[in-house]
Amino acid sequence: MNSVAVEMRDVSKVFGPVKALNQASLTIEYGTIHGVVGQNGAGKSTIIKVLAGIYRHDEGSIFVEGKELKSITPKIIEKCGIHFIHQDRLLVSTATVAEAIFLRNEPTFGPFINHRKMNAQATELLQRYFDLELDPTTLITDLSTAQQKIVQITRSLSQNAKVLVLDEPTAALVTKEVESLFTVLRRLKEEGIAIVFISHYMSEIESICDTVTVLRNGENVGQVSPKEVGIEKIVTMMTNRDTSEMYPRRNVEVGAPVLEVDNLSLASHFDSVSFQVGAGEVVGLAGLLGSGDKEVLQSLFGLLPPDSGTVSIDGTSHKFRSPVNAVENGIAMIPEDRRAHGVAVNLSIAENITLASVDKISKRGFVNRQEEIESVDALIEELGVKTPSGDMLVRNLSGGNQQKVVVAKWLSCDSRVYLLDEPTVAVDVGSKIEIYGLINRLAAEGKGIVFVSSDFEELAEMCDRVLVIYKGEIIGEYEGSSINSEQLLAAASGKKITINRSAV
């Protein structure tokens, strides 16, 4: 039974200066569940998109059942029986179960869809594969997320899928639904189907995968069996790399608390979150997708007003109902989606920098251009934004330099507390190092910094303290130089493992 379904050999893919994949390989056998793990930016999604025919690889070769595929398009791949279940559900919500399963393959009677036959076939398929009694005329919107996943899988099976690729299939599922999905996957495995399972939940990888391919920085660092080597070893493989050059050191004495969060709660997002951030301190919030880490930041910035709890800045307590209050009281946000929330790319650097602090350079409603140019030039110089002048459009800057403009915006209005939401997402390594330098500079100026990132290595290296948040609660706190990304990842996955941690 264990014959090779798909083999990707020495695949490389370059995006501009970034090597997303560097001679990565992936071998998938029939009748197995194969995990693909790696940190953000490790190349997980790139390798999957290459296989799906969405990206064209620059080097390497791809074999399906031993035959090399010369050209790869989504259509050819589907013909080979390789199907993808993407993270965001791609079912038409107003369709019925049967319509969703047979979309574009409807059984017909002349020019008409044979609804009776279609419904009967849908019922049969659902029963045969999943033992599932589901009325085929139910609307997709009325299904649970897990049921929708099953409908998607059924759709693939109805088209004779031999390889199923599931990208983060459990991200929106509750524990019970995960169990039922796993039962389905195990049953499909028994039928000889090859399943590729992409997840960052280590406990799930351990419980369902037969083999795991570990990617790191676009290279694969090994193919192992999680049952043999254990999850700790896999996590080490994912994170271990030479970090000495990436993360500049800082030497800042942490001062009095600038931000105090006490029992902050927001229904269905987070509960009783309390922590303090001192002047010059960088505090990380480590959580997986949906853990509530981002929502905490958004509450602190007034975007999601909390139900209860208090937030104090420099000892004065505040209730932030909107970003307007938050900004006025010295809170700054470096948002994750830079182009939507961070910088207006079609405005000039100067206009972006002074956007939150126009009051300071205005008199009776008029902007003092001279004063603006002086302060903008000073900030451009100080942060090293690479531009000939502040009148250039932000669009012309690199990601890292755009991020500097966001920081400059907050420096120009003397913000006390900086909320960083994935500040290094989608920038190249060089820019990352520059952004880390910026963080250190902010700390040196006595700002309080809250740092949310899904790159736990970055958190471990850059933070004085890291709080682990799981299902909306802070479940652990790690301090000092002993923080390492393995324990953060393990803790954030809800997996209790004991490596000599320095929990408080």
């Binding site: 970003p323 307007v324 900004v327 939507a340 929330h341 079609n346 405005l347 206009e351 939150a356 205005s362």
Partner: protein, 327 residues
């Protein structure tokens, strides 16, 4: 600069040409009409053109410029014009003081803008649909108030004083409406291009999410945007009804498309295609000149529209096409 000159020259010239295409077209059309259309190149024609066509449209288009710069659109400019005009004529007809009538008219117009901004801020309706709804309702309100659209004429001499005060009085021989336009141009220019307000407007127009995440009072700024547009329309409505000494229901509708057109023609002069006061005024002049010239050439009304459409395509196609090449 001198160092880079050589490499930049071909690109720069194409790009600068694309900015200048509007001016070139403007001057070209002007020369064309001067040679072909009898009575075009004539002081009386121009002053008549400016007094009757340019001033009213320009003030409305300034309001539209603010809204479009903030990333919105106001389809209800006609309602603001008409309701202000209606209020003004009714107040004068009832024997009220002229200044008081003007104030009431402008306040009525401001209420239209306030309604728009409430719909946009509170009900989160897209500006296009919010102002479209107000346009429909505003039309009906006028028809209901005038028993199906019967104009109100105040041609009797007892009403003449306030109208004359607005239309005839002149400083150094310049008619008051023109002075009002100049005042509006200066005010909008200062607010949009020199003021804090303009910064918020362009942030909203460029990327509303960034404005929100920078702690800007987005709903308040949007209210200012829509109310100032309606107030400008109200001013135009008062001038309109003073000129014709009457209120003609739905007369303001005619301004909507020209105001939008002038604003977008005006974006062709800026590198970032941003609406600007100067560009809009140029757009208004361009449209007025085209209408006037084609009329004087003896083209009938229906062919005038075809002519205007074609000329707008040529000008904008030229300027944006060249820019694309340059990029």
């Amino acid at each position: 600069m001198t160092v880079n000159n050589k490499t930049l020259t071909p690109k720069m010239s194409l790009e600068s040409m694309s900015h200048k295409a509007v001016y070139v077209a403007f001057i070209g059309v002007f020369i064309l009409f001067s040679m072909t259309a009898e009575g075009f190149l004539n002081f009386d024609n121009f002053s008549n053109l400016i007094a009757n066509k340019v001033v009213l449209l320009a003030i409305v288009a300034l309001g539209m410029t603010i809204v479009i710069a903030a990333g919105g659109i106001d389809l209800s400019v006609g309602v603001s014009i008409d309701l202000a005009s209606m209020a003004f004529i009714m107040m004068i007809g009832a024997g009220h003081n002229g200044v008081f009538a003007v104030i009431v008219a402008i306040l009525v117009a401001a209420c239209v803008g306030l309604t728009n901004s409430l719909l946009i801020n509170k009900l989160k309706i897209d500006p296009f649909l919010a102002t479209l709804g107000v346009l429909f309702i505003g039309k009906s309100v006028q028809q209901l108030a005038t028993s199906g659209g019967v104009p109100i004429y105040l041609t009797k001499s007892e009403f003449a004083a306030p109208f004359e005060a607005i239309t005839r009085t002149s400083l150094f021989g310049i008619p008051t409406p023109f002075l009002v336009l100049v005042a509006c141009v200066i005010a909008v220019y200062l607010a949009l291009h020199r003021g804090k307000f303009g910064r918020y407007v362009s942030a909203l127009g460029a990327q509303p999410g960034v404005a929100k995440y920078s702690g800007i009072r987005v709903p308040f700024q949007l209210t200012l945007v829509f109310v100032s547009c309606s107030v400008l329309c109200g001013i135009s409505g008062v001038l309109l009804s003073s000129t014709v000494r009457s209120y003609v229901p739905l007369a303001g509708d005619a301004f909507l498309l020209d105001a939008i057109g002038a604003t977008f023609i005006g974006t062709a002069i800026s590198k970032e295609r941003k609406p600007s006061v100067f560009g809009t005024i140029l757009g208004v002049l361009f449209l007025a000149m085209l209408r006037n010239g084609l009329l004087l050439l003896g083209l009938n009304f229906f062919w005038q529209q075809v002519g205007i459409g074609l000329l707008v395509f040529i000008v904008l196609g030229l300027s944006f096409g060249l820019r694309k090449r340059a990029e």
